[in-house]
Every structure is written in structure tokens, then in C-alpha cells.
Symmetry: C2
Subunit: 325 residues, 2 copies
């Protein structure tokens, strides 16, 4: 469904900003508390977090970039929230209140927007997120972007920068081919992220958004490389499906495709891996956790090495915004 | 200066996302701490606030809507920060860390962006704000938006909703004609906002962004109106200048123009006004504070009444986003 309308009566410009904000508050229902803890004042006032440290993340979604007319408004709205949730999961956090900036052309269709907010509402209700404030501003006709800033709290925020040379590298779920559906249907790995973050043997964690080979690099300590066991990579069925027509192998899709929204975690080399894996399976029987390699001292062959052939991975790039080359 | 370039070598798409984020971090210098308290992880980790309550606001700026090619990149960047600061001032708060979402076409000019970030940096340095995280995503060529989410803390956040019938209405500074320069040159009323918020006789406060007559309505308790003494309205010199060519009176500009970024505050009816005004002048000798009316029980003539003629104000609307009628 296209977010825009040629019929003025159906457009947000008929409503105007004040009426639109009231409408949004109604659409959001219980997800939208009243001021000062919600919409309606110059700032939202946040309740103090109950424990741990406060974390903050921001993500956006734009028509024509992150979704198109083939995507339902509900899925687009939910995805905006879930992208942020995946960042919270990556730190081992629990989501808190959020604020939303809406940038829309005057021709955005009110009915489309209502469904977009229904997607946001359902997702916020499920994950117990309050939308406590925001901003509405205009763009040229034919444009729609939404930016969500999500707070959270984490008992012990798990970082990327604390990975160590020698660590085992694990990944949750399966990788690749997310464009065939998972990029809307994914569930952010919140419970998994919290459990991993509280495990003292986990040195570092992050979520996969731009593809394993690109994202892994930001996890590697200086003067190290990732030695990957490509045979053990958990390739998603969708990656095999995609490989039938894409001209790329399923393995390449698993390594390079963006929007997996899985977690990568590194485990201390002294860990009892069997005990760890047993605990994981008891805790998350439905979520695969696979060791895919180790962090090793730097190699002249680059940051990502096939541990069997001891040569550089043939694919260097994942998804990168703004690249047009 | 136009934010876009036809020359690929000068564009952000030549850099790509990863290099651009590194560049932004360099441009921001001391304003950009390293992870986990800054850019580089999935979320930013915030330091606990030292006292009071945490507040949160979000504002955006888009090329073609909030600024055009006549505006310097530095002014555009600084304005994004100052719009948010004005919201913090409205609650009586002190600014804290911020996150920034950048939505830009592949043809955004790197040199323009560097200057935009220089404006952000100078403003953040002045107000001691750290930019602790963000997100970069793509738009169609010719588009540029930036969304800043700013945290803050307030000892006693002053709300809009706590105004009382009988309150005196005061306004800081002068109003109208901001389009002639003040909408970029304004200083957010942070010190004033904090001082007012800690005064127990101040019942409510807010900042003026969409024009006095529109914004005042959101301050009025149910079943009240604002009785305005139009003769006492502090009309800005710029409003008189604008009136010479606009076809509207200076008074109308003072009542309706957006982007004053002044504070409106309501004072308990039992207050010793002379003592209050004397304290104000001692504290802020360079900032006018003018009583412009009172909150009265509801009138059949509407929410905004000329207290001399006892008739409705002839102008009902301030600036409203998305209105195209």
C-alpha cells in the first residue's frame, strides 16, 4: 500500500498538526500515556529506571528506502520499533519509554498512517513500551520518514568493545535471505540478549543488521582477526531459496545479507563450552546457538579468514547505507 | 548554500556509511565521546543523572522545510540543537546527552555536512552536550533531514498542565518578526527557565514555537480563557519592520508568528508581583519579562480574549505543520 493520497480529504494536511497529534494519541491508546509522562508537554518526564544503567538508541524508517508499497503499513510501523529493540537486545537490555519524530509530506494518507501506528501500537504493547513524546514536521509531498528513539535499562550493558583475542564466536538463529520475509517477521532477541549479557563468560555481544562480514569487523579487538568455520555457519533456508535465483551461493547470502537481527556473542576461551551450550538449550530450546569461529591474533590476510583454507573470505562487504558505487 | 552536489567525489556516497560515521566523530571532536558512553556500540550507555528527574525531547530539521540554501550549514546545525534546548528550557531543565539520526540523500555534499556538524559542535560545546550515538540512513537524492533527541534533567520539571485559573501570564523577551533573523540567532532561555521552574509561585511554563495565540491554548486549563492585554504585549522591533511590507500589523506578527523561542510562564494570583519582578530584574537584567494577561473562567467568546474590548482576538491560528489550506 502506497502511503500517499491524491485526495485532500484523506490526507494528513486536512487534519493539520494539532488534530493529527490528538489522533495519533488516540490511535496509540494505552501505549500513549498523558503528560507529563506522555505526549502533550515540551519534554516527556521519564520515571527513574529501577536498576542497572540507562541505554539509548535511535533508528529510522523511510518510504522508498526501508520499505515500499508492497509492505503493509502495520509491518512498517512494527519494524521501526523492532529495529530499535534489536539494539536494546544487543546490549542485554530491557526496553523503556520511546519518543517518535514523524516527518511526512502533506499527502500522507491518514488511513495509511492509522495502520502504521497500529503496527507500532501492537509492537509496543507486546514489549511494554510507552510512547511518551514526539515531534511532527513537514516534508515535500511523496516523502515519509519516522525516527524512533528508544530508552532501555541494562543490569550490565554488554558492549562490542570488550571482545578478547581467543574468544569463541557464537551466533543465534540462522543467517541469510532475510529479504524473503524475516526482515519484517523477526523477533528481536531480547530474552536471549539479557541472558547472554548476564553470563560472565560472554565477553561481548552485538546484533547483526548489515551482514555478518561487515558487522563482525566492529566486534574485533585491535590486532585480531575472525577465523570462521564456514561449514558451521547456520545458513537459513531462505538463503538457499534465494541462491536458486540470485547468482550467489547460500553461504554468501549468510555471510553478506543484511537484516538478520540475530545476536553475535563472543565467549571467553576458558569457558566450559559444553556446559554453556547445555544451559542455552535448556533456556532457549527453540533458538539455535552456533559456534562459528574464534578471534585470533592479526593476520596479513585481513580481518576475516576461512579457518580451514586459512585464506581471506572472498566477500568483504555487507550492506552499507549511502554506498552508490 | 545548497546541501547537495552533482560531483560524486564531493558526496557522502563516495564515503559510504562506515567512513562517514568515523568522519562525523572526528568533526564533532570533544562533543563525541567514545563507546560505551558515545558513538560505536548498539546503544549509548548514559551516566546516571545527578539529581531531579530525567526529561526527553526530540526535534527535527529538514532542507526545504525548516531551512533553505540561504541559510549557512552552521546555522542549520546549531538551530537543530537550539530547538531542542528550548524544550528543555521550557521544563526548567539542564541539557544532557543527545543522539542524532541523519537521513540523507547520496548527493549530500561532504563539505556542507562538515559545516553542518561544526554548527552542532559549537552549540553542543557551549551548552555542554555530548552526542553519544545516532543512526545514518539513506533518502532519495535531494533530501536531507536530521533528528536530534536530547535528554535533560530537571530538579522540578515545570509543566504546561499545572496552570491555574486566575494566574497571571508572563512572557520573556519580545515577540514577532523572528523570520528576519531571530529564528537562527535566538538563545534558548535555559537559565531563565531553570530559575522560573524553581519558583514556587510559577504554576506552569512552556516555550513559544508556533506563535503566542496557538501555543497559549495548550497552556489553558479546561474551562478557562486567556484575557490578554494587547497594549502590554512586548512587540519585537522586527515585527514592526516586517509590518511595513507584510500587510499585517506588528501586533498581529507578535501574536501569530512562530519561532519566538521565548518562555511563557503563569504566576499564582496570590503572588507579590512587584517582588517577583524585582527579583527577575536583578537575576536577568537583560531579559524583559512582561505580564500580558491573566487566565480567566471560560468565555463564550473563545479561548483568547482582548481584555480591554472583551472580544475574541481576531487571529486564531499560529504556525501549524502540515496545513496546506
Amino acid at each position: 500500500m502506497v502511503p500517499f493520497t491524491h485526495n485532500f480529504a484523506d490526507s494528513v494536511s486536512r487534519l493539520g498538526e494539532v488534530a493529527l497529534i490528538q489522533q495519533i494519541s488516540r490511535w496509540l491508546g494505552p501505549v500513549s500515556p498523558t503528560a507529563p509522562l506522555g505526549i502533550g508537554d515540551d519534554c516527556a518526564v521519564l520515571e527513574p529506571i529501577s536498576s542497572g544503567q540507562q541505554i539509548l538508541t535511535v533508528d529510522s524508517i523511510s518510504y522508498g528506502q526501508h520499505f515500499d508499497a508492497s509492505v503493509s503499513p502495520e509491518d512498517a510501523g512494527a519494524k521501526l520499533v523492532k529495529r530499535n529493540l534489536s539494539d536494546i537486545a544487543a546490549m542485554g537490555g530491557t526496553p523503556g519509554p520511546a519518543v517518535l519524530a514523524l516527518l511526512c509530506g502533506p499527502d500522507v494518507c491518514t488511513q495509511w498512517l492509522e495502520r502504521f501506528f497500529f503496527g507500532i501500537r501492537q509492537c509496543c504493547e507486546y514489549y511494554k513500551i510507552s510512547l511518551v513524546g514526539g515531534d511532527v514536521s513537514s516534508l515535500e509531498p511523496g516523502n515519509f520518514s519516522a525516527v524512533l528513539t528508544l530508552t532501555g535499562q541494562a543490569l550490565r550493558p554488554k558492549l562490542r568493545s570488550t571482545a578478547k583475542c581467543g574468544d569463541y564466536i557464537y551466533v543465534t538463529g540462522t543467517l541469510g535471505g532475510s529479504i524473503l520475509g524475516k526482515h519484517y517477521q523477526f523477533q528481536p532477541r531480547l530474552a536471549e540478549g539479557q541472558w547472554l549479557a548476564q553470563n560472565r563468560d560472554c565477553n561481548a555481544q552485538m546484533d547483526l543488521t548489515d551482514g555478518l562480514v561487515k558487522d563482525l569487523k566492529s566486534l574485533l579487538p585491535p590486532a585480531t582477526h575472525a577465523a570462521l568455520d564456514l561449514d558451521s555457519l547456520p545458513i537459513a533456508p531462505a538463503a538457499y531459496t534465494l541462491a536458486q535465483t540470485s547468482g550467489h551461493s547460500a553461504l554468501e547470502h549468510a555471510c553478506c545479507d543484511g537484516e538478520d537481527y540475530e545476536l553475535v556473542v563472543t565467549l571467553n576461551m576458558q569457558v566450559n563450552r559444553m556446559a554453556f551450550e547445555t544451559q542455552w538449550s535448556a533456556q532457549f530450546p527453540e533458538t539455535e546457538l552456533q559456534q562459528i569461529g574464534r578471534i585470533r591474533p592479526s593476520s596479513t590476510d585481513g580481518q576475516l579468514i576461512d579457518s580451514v583454507t586459512n585464506t581471506a573470505l572472498p566477500w568483504a562487504h555487507g550492506f552499507e547505507h549511502l554506498r552508490s558505487e
